[in-house]
Symmetry: C2
Subunit: 334 residues, 2 copies
């Protein structure tokens, strides 16, 4: 009888817990950011999330308005020795070279074929665009997604010898999950190609294609044997960088983020745009300070230059994460 009563009481407690929406998560009170060192960055992130989700707080923000935007290169995954998309373009140049004998003697293709990164770097934005147009256009959108996935499955990072989509930052993965657990909608807002990212962001970050904003080339609907396909054209549609990041955010999301995360001057305007909204806001920069475990660079870097935005962060009180100090680990375990 007593045993039965205890069982009964246990059931009632369990029932009350379920009905009151009490989940296992809140029971264990586990650390939502285990890869973050105890310190000001972790504390401020948690304080921000607790404040805007606390209905009794004057800074409470409705779930629908909890929009968080993340730069990708250097913020969610590594961007060194060069942007991974450039390495993908080089891979594509090599793949397509047999059909383009002139590339053996024409820049920037010659440099790409020879792996001459120095020359490639000096070809600047114009050279980069030439590479992108020659390697990212001419196929259907479905075909391009297959090409990206094939590359990810075979290519390895020269230093870490891991697939590129494994070189994502474990602390940022935890941050993404933590935000989503608190009803944030997480978006990528990257200068990288939108269709270069979409095939793998769900698996890598838990971010679905419709929440990925990036640079794009134009596409065109064509009927092939009565079947509609979208063909990728060698023509710029949108460059999602710097002052155009707020443009992209407005175009795709149509509302202002309450939190924004970047790592370079290319993210400055996204953070300014986020900061200029009403109510509680959170702006953060990842500072690459860890040459041993990843890379160390900022004001003088060609890739991921962090100069004006670093000054702006200090002036405006935005959070600057010191990778070396604030992150216990960089990448997920193998």
């Amino acid at each position: 009888m007593i045993k039965q009563r205890k069982l009964y009481t246990a059931f009632v407690i369990l029932l009350v817990m379920i009905l009151s929406g009490c989940s296992c998560k809140s029971l264990t009170k586990s650390d939502p950011l285990p890869s973050w060192s105890e310190g000001i960055a972790k504390t401020h992130i948690i304080e921000f999330v607790q404040t805007v989700t606390d209905k009794s707080s004057p800074d409470y923000i409705q779930p629908a308005e909890r929009i968080a935007t993340f730069d990708n290169d250097g913020t969610l995954w590594t961007e060194r020795p060069v942007y991974f998309q450039l390495l993908f373009a080089i891979y594509r140049v090599k793949q397509l070279a047999p059909q383009h004998p002139d590339w053996q003697t024409t820049q920037p293709f010659k440099a790409a074929l020879e792996g001459d990164m120095q020359t490639l770097a000096t070809s600047g934005e114009k050279g980069l665009l030439q590479l992108i147009m020659a390697t990212h256009a001419g196929m259907t959108t479905d075909e391009f997604a297959v090409i990206v996935n094939d590359w990810l499955a075979t290519a390895r990072h020269p230093r870490f010898n891991r697939p590129y989509n494994e070189l994502v930052y474990q602390p940022m993965l935890e941050l993404l999950t933590y935000l989503r657990t608190n009803d944030f909608k997480t978006f990528i807002v990257s200068g990288g190609g939108i269709e270069f990212m979409r095939p793998w962001t769900q698996e890598a970050y838990g971010i679905p294609p419709e929440q990925v904003i990036g640079s794009s080339i134009k596409t065109k609907l064509e009927m092939r044997d009565g079947i509609p396909v979208l063909v990728r054209l060698p023509e710029i549609n949108f460059i999602d960088d710097k002052a155009d990041k707020p443009v992209g955010i407005n175009q795709y999301i149509g509302r202002r983020p309450i939190a924004a995360f970047g790592n370079s001057d290319g993210d400055l305007q996204m953070l300014q745009w986020t900061a200029a909204g009403d109510g509680k806001r959170f702006m953060m920069l990842v500072h690459h300070t860890d040459a041993q475990r990843e890379y160390a660079y900022d004001r003088d870097s060609h890739i991921g230059k962090l100069d004006i935005a670093l000054d702006a962060a200090e002036k405006n009180g935005w959070m600057v994460v010191d990778m070396q100090l604030d992150w216990k680990v960089i990448y997920p375990a193998n």
Copy 2:
């Protein structure tokens, strides 16, 4: 003792129901589409939803892939006597006329000021664009949202004498809710202006700004007294119509819908694009057949012309909804 046992049993049953995800909805088995007449349209919609959400069905589709796209004008709300956005543009012309004395003698502005819809209609797409550029650009994005809301709050439909955002179709509202209840993500894919729709789609349709795709003009980030604003420019960015509807879907959503809803030839390619995907699909056209309760028009109409798409629907077995027969009511109760 027996009483206690019964209580205990009831608790266990309740607990099992909760744990197995049995919700009140499925208990009551209420009609999800009460404004739809019993008939082939309603039956097919429900069959489609039940099939793709049934884990034991070979046609089961993961929630993440349950993307449904809806045209707006003539599919979710009325588009007669003319597109409501044109009426908004005319309202804006009258509002701005004092600053543009030349409009008194220049077309299409003269016709707009005089309410001469005949002349406006003959000014064609070029005239319409002129009106849009003159009335939809020059302000910030925030200012434009206020202007749209002000218009909705004061303007009334000439025939129904109701605010335009009340002239939404009750059966389609039920369909949107029914799909979302079944873990569909509902998007608008409209030729109408994206920033003309976003201020009111959440309230009218339960569709948030980030799930609204439409035509757009370009915007530019400017700093005004140290505060970043997005200024609307008199320059076309994207026309989300006909063959560019799949382009817009790919650009914004990045995956193919499994269900698409339209009402005119402008939606043909969206339905073709949806139909061409793998797995179970649902394509539907709203046929305006009800002159008494709304309007009746199709093949010969200037607005919402339904001709090629109607033939395609017959050929491909897409659902054609007869407003007069299939819908018990048109608009929500006052």
